[in-house]
């Protein structure tokens, strides 16, 4: 029997969670000093059984914990051999866990993905840049000249494409300024995915934050699509520094 971990919480007492965890196992707290870690027993057969339902269950337990505690959700399928090894890990990371719990207390994460017509925009920019100069070059220039020119055209297009993206992102992000404590923005993970953003929001301000999104939908650029999600446990805002990882 192994132990499956869901999240570190700011409580060392029983969590009295009647709902079940992965594989229907009882979720309980393993206390360490003034904090704890929510876990459940896991059968040895887990290796054969990992499926999307486990992911949903992991998240479901983390969200239930989030209703009552400050929670640092564990990465999916972080498993330990026994309680002693969990306590050893808790001792190793105790300071870092405490810092994170303090910083994230009373806060939630929201996610925003912004989709744009990247293909069309890039094509339009490339067409504007190329014009008729390209065809002249192809017929008159040497192979090397054409190669350099093509590279330069591509560089110019890419740069303008990113600039265009930045303009949109800054417009979108302006709607949320003042409502989030921290933010993580990832631009153009793919050509069509303009922005992947995570926002850390105070619980007391979550309605304001949701309203900010409603305003974005209503008044923001009308050629974008949005995937808005949350509230989530603060997966994207946990900072465990490397030095705290080491135990000599």
């Amino acid at each position: 029997m192994k132990i499956y971990t869901y999240g570190v919480i700011d409580s060392n007492s029983g969590i009295e969670d009647s709902n079940k965890g992965i594989e229907g196992a009882h979720v309980h707290n393993i206390p360490y000093r003034d904090i704890g870690i929510a876990v459940s027993d896991l059968d040895e057969r887990y290796k054969k059984n990992v499926n999307p339902d486990h992911i949903l269950k992991h998240e479901e337990v983390a969200e239930r914990l989030m209703e009552r505690f400050t929670v640092l959700p564990m990465k999916f399928f972080t498993i330990f051999k026994n309680k002693e090894e969990i306590l050893s890990m808790m001792s190793e990371y105790y300071d870092s866990f405490n810092e994170n719990l303090d910083r994230l207390r009373g806060k939630l994460e929201f996610g925003l993905k912004v989709i744009w017509s990247g293909n069309t925009i890039k094509k339009r920019i490339a067409e504007n840049n190329t014009g008729q100069g390209q065809s002249e070059l192809l017929s008159n220039g040497s192979l090397a000249q054409n190669y350099v020119m093509e590279k330069f055209e591509k560089y110019k297009t890419d740069r303008q494409f990113k600039e265009e993206g930045h303009k949109y992102i800054s417009t979108v992000n302006r709607f949320f300024s003042g409502f989030a404590v921290e933010e993580k923005l990832n631009m153009l993970k793919s050509e069509g995915l303009l922005l992947t953003a995570s926002y850390l929001v105070e619980k007391a301000k979550q309605d304001d934050f949701k309203q900010a999104f409603e305003r974005l939908k209503k008044n923001g650029p009308n050629d974008l699509k949005y995937l808005f999600s949350g509230p989530w446990p603060p997966y994207n805002f946990i900072n465990l520094t490397k030095s705290e990882f080491k135990k000599v």
């Binding site: 192994k2 290796k47 999307p52 992911i55 959700p73 090894e85 069509g192 939908k217 989530w232 446990p233």
Partner: protein
């Protein structure tokens, strides 16, 4: 374009996957037993594929650009 707030299972899974697979508390060392890569790839791929389909439906067009389509 219509703006949307999605609650479909596929997109929910995609959002969850974005978080739980490489975010959160990541502890390293031999005390952690990781799931075999094959298992995770299986989970990720299956979920991601259905999520991409969902996003394509949402977007109203395939993600692949015209230049990538077979001629």
């Amino acid at each position: 374009m219509d703006n949307v707030m999605l609650k479909s299972k596929d997109v929910t899974l995609l959002e969850i996957l974005d978080r739980v697979l490489d975010k959160g508390v990541v502890v390293s060392g031999d005390i952690v037993i990781s799931v075999a890569d094959v298992d995770l790839v299986y989970v990720g791929l299956k979920v991601l594929l259905s999520s991409v389909e969902a996003m394509e439906r949402l977007r109203g067009a395939p993600f692949a650009g015209a230049g990538e389509e077979p001629t």
